[in-house]
Symmetry: C2
Subunit: 689 residues, 2 copies
């Protein structure tokens, strides 16, 4: 594996346009990408240069699981995973830095990242966030030093996205002052839990808390799984999930509980408690709000997936674009073989994805700042918590889907070489596959965002009387008619006619991109809200209408997330002083914005936001941006800051360039020797003359 | 594994609209899908019900490779793989049936399908199609009975898509009447060859044939790799590709040749020969046409990938849709948990992909008929061969990309369960990943189609004088202006206003779908041709313009393939007599057509083919079709004809339904017992009253 870790030669291809002689300040761009916790990221990257942390593709599932467990111990030894824990227990109370450091582990091995996340980010966080001082003192030291590997037992076979409906019960028995944890039917078995198949000796178990004949909803309990002898306690059921599509370094499995008794004080009681006599109490009166508050404390999983997925996309593009600047195929007009990156289609495949990756990394840093603000207590109001959750639900789906899309396109762009495991792309994709449905199914998360957008929209009308609402409804319709009738289209057409190139760039600059993206979100939400209003208080009709609008609501939520990413990218570009760098990053931001507009072009046309002329020009402008960015493609992936020990893919090591050079040298020498065979077709042509 | 092979109960959900009480003739639909070689397909499916042919997920790469080799021997014993070989040698001269039978192996294990393809479809076919009687008699019996496992050595590290440029040389030495096969540089090493790492004892090697100082282009040679002692012959280099993203039951590897000498008669000489004195001869004068003729005889790989990918998509949908009709999540308006298939978004995710899968299976059967016609000699003209190759280049990319997309969506639609290896989806997706770049990179294939479309387009003007061409150019521009100015849009709007639902269905029926899809292909090709024409005889400008239009040309080729699929689907529906079945299949065809139109909606708007009103209605119509098709979703996947031994995924076995029923029974009994805990929120509501 070390052979692959050779520093590639990265000379920029010859510029062939006036836009091609700019000089990017790569180090500055790297700083920008690394973001607020750049130091922690650099520290983590330095640590994982050690091959002990790398994925070893030769290992089968069982050996891989043991290797990752041993890597977790190495992380403990290196104090790499305790940043979020209380200073009093040896941590740093550093929430943002902790996540940043975790995310970087993805390029060592996603199994390492996720198993660490299970131990310290989920199991440990549940104790930290849902428990109180007694729990912290009792269990966190063991969680931190890995003497208590644990499972986070929330999801069940029968209930994934709908956590509130889990079947596991925790019934309080005042006679013994114990909770009885029970799995009442097969579907209530806890499922897909890391550490459950093998390594977990305890679990934080989410169950319906029942005391005194009342179900107070889902709460979390600390449940030991094994005795000191290492044998499972009586009543604990444990099954191995076996082989998965990826992340096979993690021992996922199932847990069931046959009337397991735990002390009353094993209830992690920060948000709800049961007294010795069975009396339930909580500072949060509403069971619904209490439930969402508890779940909200566990948002960090989504935060770190957003970052890890974005950086995995970056690594995929670093590999594919490096290869594309070395690999040659088919002769060009000059008789020389053309490097892949010079093909129009290849640029179209990789560069918009590069732009999106930049946008996601910038958006992620803002997201991480928000998370750190809330969890440090600096800006921790209920509104901030709600915003943070909405942000998580908007960004995690986009970045995780983007990672799969990008890693797949990167693999295809590398042809057969992309399919070889050693070149990383297929392995990363397989491991990241589950990111799109765990820690919240992406579609369900986006639906949450959509509902929040509808709520915010409705708030505008709070307190307004029927007359005002009616007036608004008329306005809406008028607005739609205005757009629908194409009046605005007409105006654009007049301006555009005959001066396409200039008018396009004029009409699709920063402000227009923002306007198009923002108005789309607003209009979609307003339209959906209008359609849902028809239900009034008819619950069944409401459900039907909601279902009919579900796909569009999810699309509106996606548009909202894309807008946030665009805004983050734009803010990042504003922080750049160097003119050349700013110019290239602005093109990249434009490419991101325009490919979003192109993706939804029909919407913009139907709603009269773009004339057909301007719409047609969007794709041409994207082509032009791709060509402009082509000379900087390598600089832009180098700016991700990955070193050979992070990349490790032989095809991105310069080996391809060496092979190409060898072949070209061979043919040159053959030609010079005068002994090169003549091509039959050349002979035939000569004969014809 | 046998546990999973339980026949699921498949009761249709309660109909809730007047369109929901139709009865589909499932057996008739199965016949339709099975197509021309239904008997062979049934025979193959019956054979692979034997678990000896199934993929065993517990095996690592090395054991998997040996298992697949042993399965190949089982295929020989069962006479399942010789249909395409000459009757004289124990085959059946049945080309179409042979491919149909091969394709079905994909549901047993894609590694089995592809390793069989390497042995009999590539290595064996090269000897059969490029060799002559002497070669057939000498080697085919050993190829057929697997006593000569062989590699098909075409691709090199440095040349995949550009086969004409391979570096391997075969230089004739008249002194010994031998060819010297040589790998002159590292990039000329043969790469990614099945059977090369371990099992191959011979190879068909593609190399530049050089005799008498002239390079006659790429020809194929039979090259022994091992002696009778099983040891590699001197000068043979062999390397193992190791772990891949999928298909790890195949021993892919590299082969290099250090001045290996083979007898002159080892040249597979059907299309070009070298006499003992070194004189080259060929019945095909043009080296270019000769090369493409030789490659064309090997089209069957693409044919079988198209079919295998389509049927793998079918299996993925069978699994995901069966699960979606049993799995419940979140309460509906009636307080009962809703099955996934009843959610609008879930229908949108799965049903258009089901429609596309039907279209591809129908298109594939037509493709297979064409292939059989050419290879049986019934309709074997150069034009037919060219059409066949274009068809292969158009359909294989679409179906293989669709398989990856569908298997991924199916996996996500099954959530965490979809990520478990035992549920098939991740394994199938990983194995099929490489289908999109092997046997011709999909983008390169589509570019070939695009070039053919341009050639056909140009043929219209052959012989026309400059005046006629000029007149045509004016017409073109006028046409564009006509569309661009929205005159047609206006007419549509008038008709559409105020009667959206009816007018939409009127305006988007069969004829209109065909017109929209067909005109898009024509217009795109005409537009690109117009832009390329500017180059005239300027080669460099021509290359630049082509590159600028590359992405769009590929898109035009895709549109062409989609049109062919739509036409095949429509022809298939016409063959159905039963009214109910025809109605449902027509909806499914409409869904296929409309989602294509929706995908390219911006194009239709920009080119004035749809008014904004009608365009907006396309999505609504799709929603309506999804709702109409919902009650038949299960019937439509049952019609694929897969039995439990083919499906094997526990989540599609009925286990989920049993778990759901158990949970519902538990809660019902609890409620009946009067001992169910009261929900805190219910208590709180009561207290407020």
């Amino acid at each position: 594996m070390v052979d692959a870790a050779v520093r590639p030669k990265t000379t920029r291809p010859h510029p062939d346009s006036t836009d091609a002689d700019l000089t990017i300040d790569i180090a500055r761009v790297t700083d920008l990408l690394m973001g607020t916790w750049a130091d922690t990221r650099r520290e983590a990257r330095e640590l994982i240069k050690d091959s002990a942390f790398w994925r070893d593709d030769a290992l089968g599932k069982d050996e891989h699981r043991e290797r990752v467990l041993s890597q977790l111990h190495l992380l403990v030894e290196n104090k790499a995973v305790h940043r979020a824990f209380p200073t009093s227990l040896g941590g740093e109370d550093n929430n943002g830095g902790n996540i940043a450091g975790f995310e970087e582990l993805v390029v060592a091995d996603p199994s390492l990242q996720i198993k660490s996340g299970v131990q310290w980010g989920l199991f440990g966080s549940a104790i930290l966030q849902l428990g109180t001082a007694e729990h912290h003192d009792k269990w966190l030291p063991g969680v931190m030093d890995l003497s208590i590997p644990g499972a986070f037992a929330m999801t069940e076979i029968g209930h994934g996205s709908d956590v509130a409906a889990v079947g596991t019960t925790a019934t309080y028995d005042p006679a013994t002052e114990e909770f009885v944890i029970n799995t009442p039917f097969r579907g209530a078995t806890k499922e897909y839990l890391g550490n459950a198949a093998l390594h977990g000796v305890a679990a934080t178990v989410f169950a319906q808390l029942i005391t005194d004949g009342v179900n107070h909803g889902v709460h979390c309990f600390y449940v030991p799984l094994r005795g000191d002898d290492g044998v499972d306690l009586p009543g604990i059921g444990r099954e191995d999930d076996g082989l998965k599509g990826g992340l096979n370094g993690i021992d996922n499995g199932r847990l069931s509980f046959d009337h397991i008794r735990v002390p009353r004080t094993n209830l992690l009681n920060k948000y709800g408690d049961v007294a010795a006599d069975g009396t339930y109490s909580s500072a949060i009166d509403s069971p619904g709000r209490r439930f969402f508050t508890m779940l909200g404390t566990l948002v960090q999983g989504r935060v770190s997936l957003d970052g890890a997925a974005s950086w995995a996309s970056a690594l995929g593009l670093k590999i594919a674009i490096t290869y594309a600047t070395q690999r040659r195929q088919f002769d060009g007009a000059d008789g020389q073989e053309v490097v892949l990156m010079d093909y129009g289609k290849h640029q179209r495949r990789l560069l918009p994805r590069l732009a999106t990756t930049y946008a996601q990394i910038f958006a992620h840093d803002e997201f991480l700042q928000k998370f750190d603000g809330v969890f440090s207590g600096r800006i921790d109001t209920p509104d901030d918590r709600e915003d943070l959750e909405t942000l998580a639900a908007a960004l995690k789906p986009l970045s995780t889907w983007h990672a799969l899309d990008t890693l797949q396109e990167a693999r295809e762009a590398c042809g057969g070489a992309g399919f070889m495991f050693e070149n990383r792309l297929v392995g990363l994709r397989a491991d990241l596959d589950i990111y799109v449905t765990f820690e919240g199914d992406n579609n369900v998360l986006l639906q949450l965002v959509g509902k929040r957008l509808l709520t915010d929209y409705a708030k505008q009308f709070t307190g307004k009387d029927a007359a005002a609402l009616a007036k608004f409804a008329v306005g809406m319709t008028a607005g739609k008619l205005f757009h629908g009738a194409g009046l605005r289209q007409f105006g654009q057409s007049v301006v555009d006619l005959g001066q396409v190139a200039r008018s396009v760039e004029n009409g699709l600059r920063e402000e227009q991109q923002h306007q198009l993206l923002a108005e789309r979100v607003q209009q979609m939400v307003a339209d959906i809200a209008g359609r849902l209003r028809a239900a009034g208080k008819d619950k069944a009709l409401g459900a039907r209408l909601f279902n009919e609008n579900q796909a569009e609501l999810i699309e509106a939520a996606r548009a909202h997330g894309e807008l946030l990413q665009w805004e983050a990218f734009t803010d990042a570009v504003r922080r750049v002083d160097d003119a050349d760098t700013k110019k290239v990053l602005t093109w990249l931001r434009d490419l991101f914005g325009l490919q979003l507009i192109e993706k939804h072009l029909a919407w913009h046309l139907i709603h009269g936001r773009l004339s057909t002329q301007r719409a047609a020009a969007v794709s041409q402008y994207i082509d032009r941006l791709c060509a402009r960015l082509r000379p900087y493609a390598l600089d832009l992936v180098d700016a991700f800051g990955y070193e050979p020990e992070h990349v490790r893919a032989p095809i991105a090591s310069g080996a391809e360039r060496e092979r190409q050079d060898e072949a070209r040298d061979y043919y040159a020498a053959l030609a010079a020797s005068g002994e090169a065979p003549v091509l039959e077709k050349v002979l035939k042509k000569k004969a014809k003359r």
